[in-house]
Symmetry: C2
Subunit: 650 residues, 2 copies
């Protein structure tokens, strides 16, 4: 019936001698099929328009693939482009792998196989693989920690694992293994100090370890983690910034307490640290990450789930300094938040990490991709005067393939299991097979989420089985947002979350963010979840001066904004006093069906040329934040003014 | 009587076999004494507060001087800081040289001598001098065009020439000569391709050539100029930007037609190209620079004389895209505009370059220095919501010493001579000695410029002499701004410029921006110039969307702004319709005596909590742009709204 079922054997976690802090693991994308009305069309767009753009830019319009071909030709040609360009090839290949798994498009698979041949031919005899140094002088390799060699290697490993999971083909996996062995010999076995200039290989090595059963790769990941914070990078990296905290190299990972520096680097580091902690049972990383995580979500997280407020260092600034129009909020950093919070959820079994993941996924990350799938945001501001627009590509092209691989691998984030229970982590129309003792259960979600809060879950065990089902109850549905403290919901009359089993309302307890339902499940059982979808106003702590006397509209997991296209000339000239009325209604943004929100607000309008303004009622249309900037350059605001504090004339 | 007169012999241009396009040269700082009420106190502040800050930061608070000491110690210590940090030492030393020339402060001279000893001790036996490579591995020197080795060398040469001019001491000059000879052997004599990653050495080599009479340094400068645009930098520099235009390396210098890339790099390049053109008589550079200059001033110049609108590349963006609040306008780029336009004026004898120089000097550049002399702007925006503040220092510390050396060397820009005439280029209370045939003339300006437009020039020849005196008539005084086209004056009733000789009004012609006065000058002659100081409204071309329906107030050479401190809560909430009245009046900004301007405008004010605004008359106080941000963080606008186009609620 479904190709994806036949891959279960290939993709199961290999039997390492791993201890985990919490035994939860997420079901991989290759065992999950998404068929809803929200994400499935986006996955289709990524498999076509986004992949077309990535392939065109990688193979035709820029020298990225050509650099690999030059290495194989051995004719003394020089490297073109930036030293980290190889990584874009690998990330596109990784995204392609997920897209192939989702669509089984043979043309895409042929492209991937062609690229893999080119990549494999560029590998040096000793396993080293990096076109920048192979073309510009192999004698210089591993001399400059800033030059992203380990970063590129990590992305190769991730692509190799994804392609192996998606197709069962080993060629790229074998390339990755030879490269990992070369790096293991060069550093861990030689005890050679090396701080990875841009983290990434740490998390990739754990993926490789899981796919190959080779424990050495976990040890190598741990070796790299433990190199940080001892001054080994001094004078070798961070020159440009003069600050080891830029690359999380100021103190050892296990001693870190605050989020610092470049946001994407930080996310990849902590994802890798969580992975190593889970594999080794070492709780030291977990302790540090708990503190760092609280620092991120308690003081440095945008309401969109974006992070990294400052463009200057592409990273974190001062606590609570979260400017809206100048927000950097790189797409890749939001993608990294999804990675890291998934690992934190698995390590702890706590649903609040999934709440943050969902916030970053549906807002800060998804905003990076145009509705057409072929234009991208590098930064994702929370307000605009029309100076921001999505682009076809970037010189530093990390974001397009990063959002592509996230959307197409979304199956990775929906279901999880541990020794005790099955978990429904995200509400996405989809199906999977979960283990249950020595039998299996087919689970299928039907929902029009995020537009509707009604979710119907069909449970189909092979035979009746007693087991616990845990269903995530989002903070926004129960009225307690995560991060608690930085933001709060201005709660109006509260509908409760309802759950029915086979049509009968049931009582349920909520623990660590999950409703617990234990019973003997029979074939044909259905669980219906009803999440209240009232429009909520979100307020921030007073310390965030940019958001004072302002609020955000949220409905379900989606943050809304007011854009000029729907409100010509009005997106910056209204206020919505307490008691403003809202109405959700079906709408289209550049063809995308959404629920928009009508706002009854007040406004000021120039009455005539230059001399008067009038106070007028103003009906506004708010759209989901992720859908803005798809209809040309216009004004936009996420944080809406509550009252007139100052009037500006433009 | 004056020490500076005794230095004339040392600082005269050495007798190179140079042809120039136009024979004009500027009288050097060491032969000019400034004693006015505007610049002289600023030079005093630079010699004390600014130099104290530079010395503290360079010697105590950062490892910049310590790196030189480490090289001399030969104990295997590593370099600390950023690879271009040596340049900050040299630029501080250059600024110190001018300050010593202005003040004859023996303590400052002792500090300079101490630094020079440390620097000289760090020179390698073959003349090479760069602490980054001497400490981190000399074998790596000259392998990475991005690493600013030639840039640092250039700043050493500039410092050496300045210190020699100021004191007659040769020690640092000899260091510079050995370094220049090493570079000449390594590149020009070896015909080794090398694109200077950050231009600077080109203009410095011409200074060194003039001070030593050594023509080879001009040839070396030309060698470096002509390396650009042939792909030699490909794969070696511009990696980060993937765009050779970032460093003006896309096409050969003589074929360049547009301004591109990093603004400071561009300014230093064109300054160097003008210098080489002047020395060699090669008109190829001049042709290219005419086109590039038109592109800068016609499409890419802020009204403040600032350039480089984009922080992303610290440089030029799209034509006419000149955002105000997001303007980058690095202080160093405005300083570079002063350098380049001085050279263009000398090459052409055309006063419009001095107009642009004056605009950049009094606005975009001077804004980089706090009134106290010890805080600095790196970027100089034209509007603010209070997010901008001057800082004590920067990780990349190019700007403090750059504005310091400009202010303290201001004597370099006031007087010039060519075969035909004496030139008064800037109106600054000062005196100098100019040649006149085989005799000399003492010239002294008395003026309260820029607050007053009255300038009294005393002419004291040794004996009566027939000669032409050319006095610059600024575009703002005759109603034709430079750049003509991008900005225009909304001219009201026009007072003419008046000139009197010995009290008698004279008729005069204006050619290329100069009034020409030819006569036999007698001891005791006086020329009085009266420049109209009416408040002018400046408008921009429609293509500059950020400035549409807005205007700027200018009085004399100064651009004005409205700041929150003088207008609490009002700096963004007014409009000034046509016919608005202005009145200039004496005022103080943080102690600085200025002429402020009172504006009778209109405003909107919140009438009560959140529901109404009122249209009210509004009296505003505008202050000179250079003086803003000296009284804490507040709102500020340079471009003032003409009418209500849109109302924004904050």
């Amino acid at each position: 019936m479904k190709y994806w079922l036949s891959l279960v054997i290939l993709t199961g976690v290999a039997g390492l001698r791993a201890q985990t802090l919490h035994s939860m693991h997420f079901i991989p994308f290759s065992q999950v099929r998404i068929d809803d009305q929200f994400w499935a069309p986006k996955q289709q767009k990524v498999a076509t328009a986004t992949m077309d753009a990535c392939i065109y830019q990688t193979e035709i319009n820029t020298p990225r693939i050509r650099n690999f071909e030059k290495v194989a030709r051995h004719q003394g040609e020089k490297h073109e482009g930036i030293y980290y360009d190889d990584s874009d090839v690998y990330k596109a290949l990784e995204a392609m792998s997920y897209a192939i798994s989702n669509t089984r498009d043979p043309k895409l698979e042929a492209t991937a196989d062609r690229w893999i041949d080119v990549i494999a031919a560029a590998q040096e005899p000793d396993g080293y693989l990096n076109t920048y140094y192979s073309l510009n002088g192999l004698d210089q390799r591993w001399t400059d920690m800033e030059k992203h060699e380990a970063y590129c290697a990590g992305h190769l490993m991730e692509a190799a694992v994804a392609y192996f999971q998606a197709t069962g083909k080993r060629k790229l996996l074998d390339v990755a293994i030879r490269l990992a062995d070369h790096i293991d010999r060069t550093f861990r076995q030689a005890r050679r100090p090396w701080v990875t200039g841009h983290e990434e290989i740490e998390l990739a090595l754990v993926k490789l370890a899981k796919s190959t059963g080779e424990d050495r790769y976990v040890q190598l990941a741990q070796y790299f983690l433990d190199q940080r914070g001892h001054g080994y990078g001094k004078g070798k990296i961070w020159d440009q910034w003069n600050d080891p905290a830029y690359a999380q190299d100021a103190v050892p990972v296990k001693d870190q307490k605050e989020i610092t520096g470049h946001a994407v680097r930080a996310m990849y580091l902590y994802t890798g640290a969580a992975d190593v902690g889970a594999m080794t049972g070492d709780t030291g990383y977990q302790k540090a990450m708990n503190l760092v995580w609280e620092d991120v979500v308690g003081r440095n997280l945008y309401v969109t789930g974006g992070i990294g407020s400052s463009g200057r260092n592409e990273g974190f600034g001062i606590d609570y300094e979260l400017p809206n129009e100048e927000a950097y909020c790189e797409t890749c950093a939001s993608v990294g938040m999804v990675f890291w919070n998934q690992r934190m959820a698995a390590l702890t079994g706590d649903g609040r990490y999934m709440d943050v993941l969902e916030r970053s996924l549906y807002n800060g990350a998804l905003d990076g991709l145009s509705l057409t799938g072929d234009h991208f945001f590098y930064g994702n501001p929370l307000a605009s005067h029309g100076q921001h627009s999505r682009r076809e590509w970037f010189g530093t092209a990390c974001c397009p393939s990063n959002i592509a691989r996230l959307v197409s691998s979304l199956g990775d984030y929906i279901y999880a299991v541990d020794d005790l229970a099955w978990y429904i982590q995200l509400f996405i129309g989809s199906e999977t097979i979960l283990p249950a003792g020595n039998t299996q259960v087919h689970i299928r979600q039907l929902t029009n989420y995020p537009w509707s809060g009604n979710v119907r879950i069909a449970i189909q065990p092979e035979s009746p089985v007693r087991h616990e089902l845990r269903i995530r109850i989002p903070g926004w549905a129960s009225g307690v947002p995560v991060p608690e403290g930085l933001y709060r919901y201005e709660t109006k009359q509260e509908e409760p979350v309802k759950i029915r089993i086979n049509g009968q309302a049931v009582e349920f307890g909520v623990e660590k963010g999950y409703a617990h339902l234990t019973r003997t499940w029979h074939p044909g059982d259905t669980v219906e979840v009803e999440l209240p979808m009232a429009v909520r106003e979100v307020l921030s702590r007073d310390e965030v001066s940019a958001d004072r006397d302002r609020f955000v509209i949220q409905r379900g997991p989606l943050v809304y904004c007011v854009e000029g296209t729907d409100n010509p000339g009005k997106a910056w000239s209204f206020w919505a006093p307490e008691g403003t009325a809202y109405r959700a209604f079906p709408y289209r943004v550049a063809g995308e069906p959404v629920m928009a929100i009508r706002i009854q607000a007040r406004g000021l309008a120039p009455a005539n040329r230059g001399s008067r303004v009038e106070d007028v009622p103003r009906t506004l249309t708010a759209i989901p934040y992720y859908s803005w900037a798809n209809r040309g350059n216009t004004d936009m605001q996420v944080w809406l003014p509550r009252r007139i504090k100052a009037v500006e004339i433009r």
